[in-house]
């Protein structure tokens, strides 16, 4: 009898609530298998009916790198750092930017594109944008492999003493992306404008962040007084930090890093709260 009592699942209550809680995160953890299934699905679908297959993951950042290198070569502009070869600088930027851009793009549409399921079956809706993010992280990790041949080819030496820091820095960037996609995906489910505006914002963002150039080139223009504002953008700070940890370029300003860290926290916490709020009307409004 005691055993039987144990096997009866507890009554779970839910209803309208705006109270912010970390229950959402606990639920995501409980349903991590489904998250994995969604991730696998996104991954499998992406490379169905393509000839080059997973090679696209390597080709995309490589092509991006070559295009901008060619562009700056033709223009005769030096956008790189004064101490490090241009190719690894731009590859770092490209990899990070593709992480941001593809996670934003895929996650924003994730709920809306899957609305036939969202309106029929319950599961933590956060899993869908998170699966998109996981795909982008997967691409990022595979693409990072390119760094070694590019460094060898250009004769760039990696600063091994700080290189391990690249991992926590990349995680910071991923965390920032997670906060942003919580905002974007649920906003897009309510207001489709977000989906239309996103491409322009991404285009702008690519040039506002030091993706195809090194921050060093902007230092003189911005002066020390304003550079922290530029670095308040966590993407800019993360890219700058990654370059510093790998190649020993100049470290972003402390103030900039502090503001960027605060921004990240704010976006994550508010994103979580907004998503929870939006989730309640999701099936009605999507």
């Amino acid at each position: 009898m005691a055993n039987q009592q144990d096997s009866i699942p507890p009554m779970q209550f839910y209803g309208p609530t705006d109270r912010f809680g970390f229950g959402q995160l606990a639920e995501i953890w409980r349903t991590r298998e489904l998250l994995y299934s969604f991730f696998l699905r996104d991954l499998l679908i992406r490379y169905r009916q393509v000839i080059v297959g997973v090679l696209w993951v390597l080709l995309q950042p490589l092509m991006g790198m070559l295009i901008f290198m060619g562009l700056f070569f033709v223009l005769g502009t030096n956008a790189g750092s004064s101490t490090v070869a241009f190719a690894p600088i731009i590859l770092t930027g490209m990899l990070c930017w593709q992480l941001v851009a593809s996670s934003f793009r895929d996650a924003t549409g994730s709920l809306v594109n899957y609305r036939h399921v969202v309106t029929k079956i319950y599961f933590p809706r956060m899993l869908l944008p998170l699966a998109s993010l996981m795909c982008a992280v997967f691409d990022f990790s595979i693409g990072s492999v390119l760094m070694l041949p590019v460094c060898v080819y250009t004769g760039t030496s990696i600063v091994w003493s700080t290189a391990w820091l690249a991992i926590p820095i990349a995680l910071w960037l991923v965390l920032f992306c997670a906060g942003c996609i919580a905002w974007l995906s649920a906003l897009n489910a309510h207001y489709r404008d977000v989906g239309y505006a996103l491409p322009f914002v991404l285009q702008l963002g690519m040039f506002v962040s030091p993706v195809v150039y090194d921050v060093e080139r902007l230092r003189n223009l911005l002066t020390d007084r304003w550079v922290w504002l530029y670095e308040a953008n966590p993407i800019a700070t993360c890219i700058g930090l990654l370059r510093w940890s790998l190649f020993g370029t100049q470290l972003p300003s402390l103030l900039g890093m502090a503001v960027a860290a605060m921004m990240t926290c704010f976006i994550c916490v508010s994103g979580l709260a907004w998503f929870q709020h939006a989730d309640q009307q999701l099936a009605d409004r999507i």
Binding site: I8, P9, P10, M11, Q12, F13, Y14, G15, P16, E33, L34, Y36, S37, F38, L40, R41, L44, I45, R48, Q49, H116, V117, V118, T119, K120, I121, Y122, F123, L187, H190, Y191, R192, D193, V194, D279, Q280, Q281, A283, D284, R285
Partner: protein, 436 residues
């Protein structure tokens, strides 16, 4: 062993009305947000809903459900009965956690499985095998459990040789079989079935019903929404009746079905579109009225005796001269079974209709279709009307515009007093027996 499995405390659900708000615009939301900053009272207080129907709609909001109190023990099979729009599906969606209630609290014990629509979550690009895992996971099955039951699922679906084929190359029948196989092997604590019983073929419906009663026997809770009242009566030990978002009765299925049917009978066998704007119309044709009557009286009636000829009359206005019209009707029964379709074309007619496909002058026309006596069974039937320039081409249509009941008077069953439940039609046919 009676453990509460589902508990609803004063659950209400309110929806926003109006197509414009379906996809809200960001600018609108910001504007209304700014406005509400200045007017504190503008925040729509969750007002206690009243009981009268007109209060169901207030200030652009619609109460789909109001103050639902319900408690269901585990092992119970409960049917939910009500007209379209009474809130049945909303109630199920709230139980399945798809929709969050506006007020109140919902408690559910254990895993909820819903067959709200079989096959949701199938991805056409993925193979059968991949889809089984994905779909199972979406339905809430742990991966290990899917792996354990994988062979069983594939055998049930009878698709073994197509396992590595993308689902987009499946026939629709195969896709449905696979989807149902996954859903059937999910073992939820609470199973929700909505209208599955009316889609799919007969065999599929039987499978669904079988699964539901099997789960009930295992002590799991099953909730069924169906228009198939016979299934509700068979399957359930208890039924609730919803009307206009309120739970009005909770009893044994037989009594609930009686009450529901007597509510449905309200109606006078005629539907007139007085208002030109709301009438189904196109540029050339506008529907005016649809009525049903027995041949013994000229007055429309929503109940017709079984031994009476049934006349279905369609009145329509021709707005543009020289429009060609063909009138068609469709008749379905209560369970959604499509009984027949007929048009006034010469080859489908006992006598040719002089106006068929002729250019009509501007004016009002009336087409009558006669359904022979002793043909339909005693049941409720729904009539849809379609008008178009030719048979098969539809420019104006109104689905389930009207319903009528055929009454068994005993006139054609004097030798048999048992049940005639089941067959859709009950024709009087020619029989002869001879010694050979």
């Amino acid at each position: 062993m009676s453990i509460e499995s589902i508990q609803l405390d004063k659950v209400s659900k309110r929806f926003r009305l109006g197509a414009n708000n379906e996809y809200g615009r960001l600018t609108e939301a910001i504007a209304s947000g700014v406005k509400s900053l200045f007017r504190k009272s503008a925040v729509i207080a969750a007002k206690r809903p009243n009981d009268s129907f007109s209060d169901r709609i207030e200030a652009g909001w619609f109460w789909a459900l109001r103050d639902i109190e319900l408690s269901i023990q585990s092992g119970e099979i409960v049917g939910i009965v009500g007209r379209n729009g009474a809130g049945k599906s909303t109630l199920l969606k709230i139980l399945a956690r798809i929709v969050t209630p506006t007020q109140g609290r919902v408690g559910v014990r254990g895993r909820v499985g819903s067959l709200l629509e079989v096959g949701t979550g199938f991805h056409p690009e993925l193979t059968g095998r991949e889809n089984v895992f994905l779909n199972g996971a979406i339905l809430g099955m742990p991966r290990s459990e899917i792996r354990k039951r994988f062979d069983e699922i594939v055998a049930f679906a009878e698709i073994d040789s197509f396992l590595e084929t993308p689902v987009k190359r499946y026939s629709s029948g195969m896709a449905v079989r696979l989807a149902f196989a996954v859903a059937a092997h999910l073992e939820p604590d609470v199973l929700i079935i909505d209208e599955v019983l009316s889609v799919g073929d007969q065999a599929f419906q039987r499978k669904c019903l079988g699964k539901a009663s099997q789960l009930g026997a295992q002590g799991r809770t099953v909730l069924v929404v169906s228009h198939n009242l016979a299934a509700v009566a068979n399957l359930c030990q208890r039924a609730v009746l919803l009307r206009d978002g309120l739970l009005v009765a909770d009893d044994v299925p037989e009594r609930i079905i009686d009450q529901y049917l007597s509510e449905m009978r309200a109606g006078d066998g005629q539907r007139v579109w007085e208002d030109d704007d709301s009438a189904p119309s196109c540029r050339e044709i506008r529907l005016r009225s649809l009525s049903v009557m027995g041949n013994r009286s000229d007055a429309p009636a929503n109940e017709v005796d079984i031994d009476q000829e049934i006349i279905i009359a369609v009145e329509y206005k021709v707005l543009v001269a020289d429009t060609r019209c063909s009138v068609q009707i469709q008749v379905k029964d209560e369970t959604g079974t499509y009984v027949f379709w007929s048009a006034n074309a010469p080859s489908m007619n006992l006598e040719p209709d002089p106006w068929f496909s002729k250019p009509h002058p501007v004016g009002t026309f009336r087409s009558e279709c006669r359904i022979p006596a002793n043909f339909l069974n005693d049941s409720r039937y729904f009539v849809s009307v379609l008008i178009g320039p030719e048979v098969g081409i539809v420019s104006v249509r109104q689905d389930s515009a009207l319903s009528f009941v055929v009454h068994d008077t005993g006139a054609m069953r004097q030798e048999y007093t048992g049940s005639w439940l089941g067959p859709v039609i009950r024709p009087r046919l020619a029989w002869t027996t001879t010694i050979v």
